[in-house]
Structures are given as structure tokens and as C-alpha cells.
Subunit: 373 residues, 2 copies
């Protein structure tokens, strides 16, 4: 039986910030970047938090990331703009570009920013949540390296390209939508592979584009887009993923489709480049431009309460509101700590050894828990 370990969020984010600083990232940017990763862990999205620190470190090590980027607005027309991230950490470029979108919304009612020359930005909902603090509706998207095949195609052409949008409630927590446009996260295939279990039909195709239940086909195959097959709407997932790719990559002048640079070192790099870095897209709309803020928030509450009353299917859980699982995790983890598995501890020890940033995890550990996370 494996163990996992609980830590205070501050311990993990302090270490994260110190690691970024060791590569020359300025104090404020390092704190910002660690805040984005911490939010992912706090909200229960373990795949996108401190578990990715090693990948960011590898990217710094090979010079793919600029620790001191000059983030610039390269084109601007009132409520819209294109931003160049100067090869910075997505965890630094993303928050800055999102702030530009929100500032535009304050001034022009809405703000929309397409970003090139950036890198992986963490969880999409970090950004849409920021907008809520300013009484705005927040939008966030990013393209990612290709691992998803378009319907009827036998090659990975698109990333998992997530879409997030958030709406504030009045007494209720916000509605937070954050979804990858692939049928499933690659992490779920990886878990099945480690456990030696078959995966459901409709998740993965092999190198020839044939449906497979063997998770090991993930290395040369492709995930399917949301909907999987033509019959079940696979063309819709392909369309949504394309939309994200175009708004983030094609619009900003970043790479798109199969040319988006890989994040992890074990992924195959694209044949060549058609733009700069990866791309994001941020939007913010001032609620006050549509209606009184309070009136809107109260209608959101009404929506939430009505949907909670949906009669559940026998034997199923009650209908959830988008963002419920993350909100529950946030409440639990803020109180009890962030769980980290042994494999991630090992990665962080490796990061500590290469960067010489101390990682005294045994002293910081709040509790050791026996079992699967």
C-alpha cells in the first residue's frame, strides 16, 4: 500500500517560488507563478500543480524559458489586443495578459487578449476566477501540444485545449466551468496503464487511428476529441478544440495544431515552427455593462438552486453544479493540507538536488496517510 503526505499550501508554494528564483525569475514573478500552481493543488487538480514543477525546471534547464521576459502589447484596439510573452513562464505571462484583459473590461466594458510566445499556464480556471474578484465574467483558453486526433484522422493534430468560464454567485460559490476538449485527460490513460487495466472504448486510438483499449497505445496513438465517434458527436469536440487552437494560436501568431511546442521532455518535438511559443486567449466582461451586478448574481443563485433540485437518476449522485468538486476540494485542502504522492516527492527531491533549493519535506509533512490518493 503506497503512502501520501499532507502539506500546508504555504510550504509547497514557498519551495516552488524559491525554485523559480533560482533560475533568475524576479521575486514578484516567482510568487505569482507559485500562486498559480498552488491554486491548482488547492482546487484538487493534482495534475497541474506542484506535480508539474519538474517539467518547468527542465524547460528552464534547456533554455526554453526566459526568466525575465518583457511582456509587451504588440497590437491594441480598445477592447482587444495581442500580447507577446517573450518566452516567459506561462504562469507569469498568463496572469499579466489576463490583467490586461480585465483592465480593458474596466475601461471598455469587455477585454479580449490573444497571447503568443508563451508557455504552459497551469489551470485555465485560475484566470477566469481572477475576473470574479472584479465583478466580471472571466474566460480563459490555451492551446497545448498535440495529443488529440481530429475526427477521422490518424495523427495527433490538436492539444487537449481547455476552455474555462466563470460566473459569480451571490450567496452561492461561483459557477466555474473548466474542461479539456478531449474526451478524457491523458492522466486517466496513464493511471490505467500503471494499474495494467484496459481503458474504455472511445478514449484512445492507436498509431493507425484504430480504437484501442490498451492504455500503452498512448505513446504512439492519440486521444479522441470530446464525443469520440461521429455517432456520439466527436466532430463537436474536434470543432471546440479547433476554436481554442485558432483563438489562442492562429489569432496571436503563436504555434498552432501539430506545431505547438511540447511541454514535457518525453514528448516528441514538432517538425518545425509556424509561430512563436504556444498561445492563450483571455476574456473579461463587466457584469455592470449588462445588468446590476447584484441582480445578476442573485439570478445565478436561482439558477444554481434550481439545478440542484433536479431529480437524480436512481443510484446516481445528485446533479452537480460546474465547479462543485473543486470548491469541495478547496474547502477540504485549505483546512487539512495538500496531499502529495511519493512519486511527486521523488520529483521534488530531484528538483531540490539540481537547483540546490532546500526541500525539507519530512519536517514539513503534516500527516502521512496510507492508501491511494
Amino acid at each position: 500500500m503506497p503512502n501520501y503526505y499532507l502539506f500546508k499550501p504555504d510550504f509547497l508554494s514557498g519551495f516552488t517560488a524559491d525554485v523559480f528564483k533560482s533560475f533568475g525569475v524576479p521575486e514578484q514573478d516567482a510568487r505569482q507563478a507559485s500562486k498559480v500552481l498552488a491554486k491548482s493543488d488547492i482546487r484538487g487538480i493534482d495534475s497541474h500543480g506542484i506535480a508539474r514543477l519538474k517539467s518547468y525546471v527542465e524547460m528552464f534547464s534547456i533554455g526554453r524559458l526566459n526568466p525575465t521576459p518583457e511582456i509587451t502589447v504588440v497590437r491594441d484596439r480598445k477592447s482587444v489586443a495581442t500580447v507577446d510573452g517573450d518566452s516567459g513562464l506561462g504562469l507569469v505571462v498568463g496572469p499579466k495578459a489576463n490583467e490586461i484583459a480585465m483592465d480593458k473590461a474596466s475601461q471598455h466594458g469587455s477585454g479580449w487578449v490573444s497571447v503568443c510566445n508563451t508557455n504552459h499556464y497551469g489551470i485555465a480556471s485560475y484566470y477566469s476566477l481572477q475576473a470574479l474578484e472584479r465583478d466580471m465574467i472571466g474566460w480563459s483558453m490555451t492551446n497545448t501540444s498535440s495529443i488529440v486526433s481530429p475526427l477521422w484522422g490518424a495523427k495527433s493534430m490538436l492539444g487537449t485545449n481547455p476552455i474555462s468560464i466563470a460566473f459569480p454567485g451571490y450567496n452561492n460559490p461561483p459557477i466555474v466551468i473548466d474542461l479539456a476538449t478531449s474526451v478524457v485527460a491523458l492522466g486517466k490513460v496513464e493511471i490505467a496503464r500503471r494499474q495494467g487495466k484496459p481503458i474504455p472504448e472511445g478514449w484512445l486510438v492507436n498509431e493507425q487511428g484504430q480504437d484501442t483499449t490498451n492504455p500503452s497505445d498512448m505513446f504512439k496513438g492519440s486521444l479522441l476529441p470530446l464525443g469520440s465517434t461521429r455517432e456520439m458527436g466527436g466532430h463537436k469536440g474536434y470543432c471546440l478544440s479547433s476554436m481554442v487552437d485558432i483563438l489562442c494560436g492562429v489569432l496571436s501568431g503563436a504555434n498552432w495544431g501539430p506545431f505547438v511546442p511540447q511541454f514535457a521532455m518525453y514528448e516528441t518535438p514538432p517538425e518545425h515552427s509556424v509561430g512563436k511559443g504556444i498561445g492563450h486567449f483571455f476574456g473579461a466582461m463587466e457584469i455592470d455593462g449588462f445588468d446590476e451586478v447584484e441582480a445578476f448574481k442573485k439570478r445565478i443563485d436561482q439558477w444554481i438552486e434550481e439545478f440542484r433540485k433536479t431529480p437524480p437518476i436512481n443510484g446516481q449522485e445528485a446533479v452537480l453544479i460546474p465547479g462543485d468538486p473543486e470548491h469541495k476540494a478547496e474547502k477540504d485542502r485549505t483546512r487539512n493540507g495538500i496531499p502529495v504522492i511519493q512519486a511527486v516527492i521523488d520529483d521534488l527531491n530531484f528538483v531540490s538536488a539540481t537547483t540546490r533549493v532546500p526541500f525539507d519535506w519530512e519536517n514539513a509533512c503534516l500527516e502521512v496517510i496510507s492508501g491511494e490518493l
Copy 2:
């Protein structure tokens, strides 16, 4: 073997406009409304064109539609606004509200309009296509009466709530995304029912929320959202449908969720009202605010050409670009005419009899074709 009939687009849209005029719709509005329905037929989306004229007529007959609406901007803040459609035809309110969004984009870089007190607006892509004529990226969404259950729920709470977005090409036709957020259109279940064939698992649940392959369960059951089950991403389709419902309904002060008024007379009306009419959401972003228009369009061409090169799965068609089927239909139908099945001819004869607008279809018919459409 049934027949279908080919007609010039002008014959059908002339009749449509005359029918609307017979209810007191002003000339210009009647032409606009008929243009939206004609676009649907020309683009091969038979379900949303003249086949729906009878439903619009029924709505006029019971006084649900205002033939001479005063469409007003009820709140406005530079790039965003809320519009009240005054119970007008969605086919008139939609184009007007979309124009407000595009005018805002000309002035502020982007424009975003949430609309209440409106009715069914035809195909979502009519509106996103309009934006292309002004070198803008166009967005369009609408909520519709509830027929889709949220994941794990045993009640229809959401409509098929479509999302459309369109991007212009340079030498290539535009990329036009237009998808319902349900797993499948209700029309496909209806076709199976008429043919006495079972439907695939994952499309429909019965009144108790249990998966069914019996298409007759459509009357008391619900369609599933895109993704169908938890394992295949049904929560994602539910999230996307919720997003559309909130942007169109909750934001504007229209009805939302199970309270959206029904379109066809055979649907069960909602228990009560929580807002005004149904809701739409339109967006337009000026491409020139992000990059040179020509440079962007050429990158779209590059994207299209790269995706066309995707190696196809053995035995499958080549990978399509979003909008390909509609573009093909548009080329074919502009040249050869619009096909109309006997059941729709019967409906139009009924419309002609009740409105006293002549419908001389036998003389106007270009060709009778034997077979299924």
C-alpha cells in the same frame, strides 16, 4: 418510395416573407426573417429552414410573437450591452442585436450583446457568418426549450443550446463552427422513430433517467449532453450547455433552463416564467485589433491546408474542416435548388390555406426526385 422536390431559393423565401407580412410584419423585417430561414436551407440544415415556417405561424396565431417589436438597448457600456427584443421574431431580433454587436466591434474593437425577450432565431451560424463580411470573428449562441438532462439528472433542464463561431479564410472558405451542445439533434431520434429503428446507447434517457435505445422515449425522456456519460465526458457537454444558458438567459434577464418557453406547440410549456422570452448572445471581434487582416486570413488558410493533410483512418473519409458540409451544400443548392420533402410541402399548403398567401408549388417546382432526402 417517397418523392422530394427542388425549388429556387427565391420562390421559397418569397413565400416565407409574404407569410410573415400577412401577420403584420413590416416588409423589411419579413425579408430579413425569410433570409435567415433561406440561409439554413441553402446550407443544408433542413431542420431549421422553411420546415419551421409552420411553427412560426402557430406562434403568431396564438399571439406569442409581436409583429412590430420595438427592439431596444436596455443597458449599454461601450463594448457590451443588453437588448430587449420586445417579443419579436428571433429572425428579426437576432439580426438586429447581432448588428449592434458588430457596430460596437467597429467602434470598440469588440462587441458583446446579451438578448432577452426574443424567440427562436434560426441557425446559430447565420449570425457568425455576418461578422465575416466585416472582417470580424463572429460568435453566436442561443438557449432553447429544455430537452436535455444534466449529467446524473432525470429531468430535461437545458436546451440543445448551440454555439457558433466563424473565422474567415483568405483563399479558402471560412471555418464555421456550429454545434448543438447535446450529443445529437432531436431530429435524428425522430427519424429513427419514424423508421422503427433503435437508436445508439448514449443518446437518450427515459423518464426515469435510464439509458434507452427506444426512440419513442423521446416524448417523456431527455437527450443527453455531448459526451453522454461521466466516463465519456457527459459533464463537459452539460457545462457547455450551462455556459450558453447563462450567457443568453441569466445574463440578459430572459428565461433559462427549464423555464425557456417552448417553440413547437406539441412541447409541454414550462411551469412558470423567470424572465422574458428566450435569450441569445452575440459577439464580434475586429480582426484588425489583433493583427493585419490579410496576415490572419492567410494563417487560417495555412491551418486549413495543414488539417486537410491529416492522414485519414483506413476506410474513413478525409478529415473535414468545420463548415465543409455546409459549404458543399451551399454550392450545390445555389446551383440546383433547395430540396423539400412531401411532409414539408403539406405543412406549407396548410400555412397557405390559413394565411391565404398563395403557394403555387407545383408550377414553381424545378424537378421531382424519387427517393429519400
